[in-house]
Symmetry: D2
Subunit: 407 residues, 4 copies
């Protein structure tokens, strides 16, 4: 029997997740794999798992049926008309693998329950490997300070979860609602959680023997202790914050200015977006995580800070579409001032989904190869690549191809 | 005494040439070297000739004083106010090295006279190397068919130049005015010249022992026989058609689409420009050379032809400024259609001049290293790099740096 | 029984016509009348015929079923998904009123047969008025010189139509294929037709007692003799070339510069479009008609010619969508140079269709009011308004409202 | 002897004021009056005072010489190179009429002293009329509540000004520093001033018998009591917040959508600007005044609120240049979604200065005609026109011309 790989999605009923699941099914029905990088010739022959051998499952606090989400995305022009009918069987199959976020009294217990869900998914579907990918709503930034794994384990046990927030839905509101044991004043403060939901998900993945990739700018694998946990379990992790739009373009334009020794004077950007992601980012606290990883790219590519703000505006009528306008002012020989402006009009979920497929295949290969710890060779996909400061897209691509072809 | 390198400019009184000469002088007065790639750390330690050791000379059919051109460029905002006064001495020095295109009866004789001008420049200024760079007006395309050097030499001797066009000003009109010996119907046909002016310049450079780089899309070193001539004289040549604006941006954006497996459906562009170059390109015949090298970039980067036209419009009031708008339509996952548009507003001469300095320094290094024949490692600078099909800017940059650092 | 008004469409199976018919049906099913100007409060109380009292018919050389066209427009995102099913009955009803362009030996006979089709439509549907609107493919420009109606009538009788072109499909190719009696060399020359198809359509309308409005830049009512014919029949006519995109925007921006005394130095534009209209305009000959009426607007609004070209590029993958980029360079106080750029992304047929409904209702009102001759008060709708030089949109709007409210 | 009119500028050393004074001088030296609306034929014959009969004076807390400001504006490309030399005499003459903001113990006394400065200016220069125009830095919003003039007069007398802020420089910081009599806790609160500086300026103008026009969005003539004061003194007033860039364009585009019945779904804008005005607006408190008047335009033009934010970003390297990008999403027939985007790149002071000349001439005409109270016919110039809700530019223009030509 042929091997199969499981893809566990945190945020499994969101737009990115739904487009990924529906898209994989559409490919099986013959749709061309536009946007799937690993389908290019450079990736052939490395033993990547075929897309039709991927099995999807995941956690989500919501219980809206996947088929409803597909309908919504068809209506919004993200998925082609008629797709819902075509892939009904595949959707139903995935639906059986989706689990509502479990309830627990402590964060420690929550991690255990989430890990059990993932293990059950593996068993039930007879999967060779499981790759967990976080495509849940972006969380606000969160500062974690634990000296080592032991200290973290203590804290997880100590953190009691108050009832109305059990399950830990990430959102502007999610920062509240957690209660550290012995704290009378209760969970008004996010800081009182041992870890935010995204990091709990990462731990659960590791506990279940899965690789973990963060598609979002949330806390997840940022804390050193979470990374240590992965290494202890001998597993690979990667991320963070997929670059699919404005930042993708920045990651090729900024190296152009650098290569040509053209000093960038100011770089300003405005992002307009609707959809679920837009609604989340309308909360300035959540948007902060995103802005931080967006800005890091420019600073690192240009070798220093440049003036200019980045706005993220929620514009509901745009739906799943995003428009970004960037204005770059640079100076040339003898100080002459010039500008480059671009407008990007993209459908975020359609840009993200094929990358989720790539990341699943590549992480499965890393598991196969016994890779442990950070996967910096996946930097090509991220605004804020773990353990890498290379942001120039072409160099990142070449690095990825080298890794894939290496053995 | 310190070594000095000569830079012989074909088109020495044009905007690019004047900005180069004025800019080098400004740098000597302390202006920061914005846009000069070879001033970056990656290029240190390779023994590149310092910019203040470059000596400029050149040919031009026009005799407008260089100082007048500088004034014009100051008024047009290309050069900073007050520069004309500051660098008067340097301009006067270069002015002494400028020569009106010589007059001759045959193309063979013309090449010899031009070569003598270059040799005299070398001797008079005690130069270690000379690098000739073509920044003359773009010529219309020109088909050359000679089986070998012997055949070409015959043709050059046979081509008689009619009086009013002696000196071979390149322009839409320049195609006429040449007369092949024994041809009664005379020089109405460009095909009757053995070679167009740009190629004669290349031969003259080689005869004078100079390296040759073509900054324009003209014929120059395109014919195999001209390249053979360079090799016979054991000299390096490079080019063609500097990428400084729209195409520069294309050369980073197109690889982005390819790397992400996003099929480009259509790529359309409109270029608005004034100035001398704009006036030349208002002639559709001359613009053809430019369009051809512009289009090659996209086709090679995207791995095939894409629909979409490229317009080059002469808009006199824009002066030395160029505005380019590009509209790229691409499709993502499951065929969703998206667009990227950019608007580039640049000052062409200010973008070109520092690259001319780079090319002079790098070609002098090639001479130093005894490099013979094509210099594909200069592809970073060109829309249509000789003997290279790599157009992705970051890869071209890395290749250049590798060559510079190699010994 | 309630009165009904007939709308006879030349080009009845094209995108604009189909969107008009489908749209009117959608409105009857409760869709909001976005884009229908005459549904605004300012137009209430003037006795305009309700949209659900309009009955559609028309000529087209093609016989593709209307329902097929609707399907194509739904697939292209012009019409909402599911509309085809909803309005099947209405489409079938209109389908019965569509007639293939008749065949005739002379243009005189052709006019007569077309007029009979229109009269039959009126009779069969018991219509109070008929308004004919030309939404057929744009023809190349055509010069007509007849001193008076008598001379024109002679020429129509004399023009023999060669068999393969009977029906007079307008297109780049349509200029050929007509044969003037006694002309041995036959119909290679458009000049040999007495009148091009669009003008024949206008005459047929007048013969059938219908008002006539030209939505296109074709010849139709341009010749004085055609206008004389309308007056002889005591009928109103209007047009030409609906302004729905780039020109619409120009018609508000240009008056802004004029009102503020800001001299426009250059105005350049690039239009990218696919679809049937795009395919027609890919023929430079047909595009000429369009460019001429586009340019007239700017020249008249700015009080003189300004430098700058207007490109119309056929970009097949854009389908029914059009993207226009305009670059305006203007100067302010003491000559400072500034720019305004805009990008318009519109769906042409969706912009055009509600205007066709407006024009039908307004022309029916003109018939009702006994208006004879040109309808300059419809200038609001057109790039090249008959007998009007007012192009400023707000003024045109106010003039229209005044006329509607006048009695 | 010929009559002369005085123009008293609050903010007389700012960019707008300096460009106005320098520009009037340049016109006298033969520069063409680009941007001066009242130089158009429609305004001839109405007896407007010639520009060379205007005499400038004004208040400013700063004492940077006008000639220094002109140099700065020349360096920044706002004023043409060489202008400083050409108009030295005129600048010196105006310099003699500039007064540092006077010092006073109470706001009542401050108004009196400012009025004395204006009266002295009138006397010294033998002026027929004086028009005061506020071009001082934008103040934060300020709520004023006085039932009537008597109450206001009481409050002015009662407001004691603390020493370090005497003179009342408007700025983010200026809100502090005023002390109401008897208030121990002192002037931390803006609310403790009877009136903000801009309103004091308006009162001073009225006390000196001058017309008053507010070019800014500050409080000035917003309070009813200030308007009552003007009427008591039988004087005209106008404003507010000149429309010179993004809002100017909005005021023609929004009526286009309305006239065509195209529902605007979202309108988003980003403004990038440097310069003194940019620095002031970098203070979100001051920017609030600006945003409020910017948004009013759209809401009133579109007949309701539309989603979308307006950003004002301070980008220091842009200097006196402003770039605005607007993204308008609208829907057409049957809900199809379309977009219009524009990018405006303008030099604010160069756009503003000719309008200041217009407003001076038109207000002088109003004085001449004995007009008392609000001047709504000046709405053409303003984002937030007093006593008018008409924002469509063409209609405003027509209204202005009608008023000018009326007698
Ligand atoms: N689409 C892109 O191009 C792109 C690029 C970079 C990053 N991202 C990130 O991907 C994520 C998903 O984007 P989307 O557009 O699908 O958003 P979405 O709002 O449509 O979906 C998010 C889903 O996450 C679920 N969720 C919330 N908290 C959760 C938790 N604690 N555990 C599990 N699920 C949880 C929500 O119920 C929802 O179904 C966002 O964080 C976004 O910032 C997307
Ligand atoms: N500026 C850029 O960014 C850029 C980029 C790519 C290529 N180029 C090319 O560089 C060239 C120069 O551009 P420019 O803006 O300086 O143009 P320009 O018109 O200002 O100058 C061209 C000069 O060449 C001279 N000339 C004409 N025929 C000649 C001949 N046969 N021999 C010697 N000189 C001759 C002319 O008299 C003129 O002085 C053009 O071919 C242009 O296409 C420029
Ligand atoms: N859509 C807009 O916004 C807009 C604006 C201004 C003008 N127009 C004009 O409207 C016209 C229609 O545009 P479209 O997009 O529907 O084009 P289309 O190509 O989809 O349709 C044109 C139709 O005309 C038919 N036709 C050709 N010759 C004919 C003839 N002699 N008599 C009758 N029918 C004939 C064709 O068979 C076709 O069905 C074009 O001329 C276009 O330039 C459209
Ligand atoms: N330039 C435009 O297009 C435009 C358009 C609309 C409104 N405005 C407004 O015009 C004003 C001037 O703009 P600018 O670019 O000249 O700004 P600026 O910062 O260059 O000049 C403002 C001047 O006002 C002075 N000032 C501050 N407080 C004062 C007070 N209480 N009394 C008198 N003077 C005072 C400052 O010292 C400074 O010299 C701003 O409020 C701006 O928002 C300008
Ligand atoms: Na790159
Ligand atoms: Na208008």
């Amino acid at each position: 029997m042929q091997r199969r790989v499981g893809v566990w999605l945190f945020g499994a009923r969101g737009s990115v997740a739904t487009t990924t699941v529906a898209g994989a099914a559409a490919l099986a029905h013959g749709a061309p794999p536009a946007g799937v990088v690993t389908e290019q010739p450079a990736f052939a022959g490395a033993g990547l798992i075929p897309i039709d051998r991927l099995v999807f499952g995941g956690h989500d606090p919501s219980d809206t049926p996947l088929s409803k989400q597909v309908e919504r995305l068809v209506a919004g022009g993200v998925l082609p008309p008629g797709l819902d009918g075509l892939i009904a069987a595949e959707l139903a199959e995935t639906e059986r693998n989706l689990v509502v976020l479990p309830v627990a009294d402590t964060q420690d217990e929550l991690v255990r329950r989430m890990a059990e869900d993932i293990k059950a998914f593996r068993l039930r579907n007879d999967l060779e490997h499981v790759v967990a990918i976080n495509v849940a709503s972006t969380e606000p930034p969160y500062e974690v300070r634990y000296a080592d794994l032991a200290e973290l384990r203590e804290a997880l046990k100590a953190t009691r979860i108050v009832s109305e927030e059990r399950g830990g839905k990430a959102s502007g509101a999610a920062e509240a609602g957690h209660e550290a044991a012995g704290d009378a004043e209760a969970g008004r403060e996010a800081a009182e959680q041992a870890l935010p939901p995204s990091s709990l998900g990462a731990l659960a993945a590791f506990e279940a023997g899965a690789a973990y990739v963060d598609f979002t700018p949330s806390t997840s694998i940022r804390p050193q202790v979470v990374r240590d946990w992965a290494v202890e379990r001998q597993l690979p992790y990667g991320g963070q914050d997929a670059k699919t739009g404005e930042t993708l373009v920045k990651s090729v334009l900024a190296p152009m200015f650098t290569a040509r020794a053209l000093p960038v004077q100011a770089w300003s950007g405005t992002n307009l977006l609707g959809g679920g992601d837009g609604a989340t980012l309308a909360d300035p606290h959540a948007a902060e995580s995103k802005s931080v990883s967006k800005e890091r790219v420019l600073t690192e590519l240009l070798g220093g800070e440049v003036p200019g703000e980045v706005h993220i505006d929620y514009v509901d009528p745009l739906g799943d579409w995003k428009t970004a306008w960037d204005h770059v002012m640079f100076s040339g020989f003898l100080g002459v001032r010039m500008t480059l402006q671009f407008t990007w009009q993209g459908c975020d979920s359609a840009l993200a989904a094929p990358l989720v497929l790539d990341l699943a295949r590549l992480s499965a290969l890393a598991l196969e190869r016994g890779h442990v710890g950070a996967m910096p060779f996946l930097g090509f996909y991220f605004k804020d690549p773990v353990e890498s400061t290379e942001h120039a897209l072409t160099r990142q691509y070449d690095e990825l191809v080298r890794w894939v072809q290496e053995c």
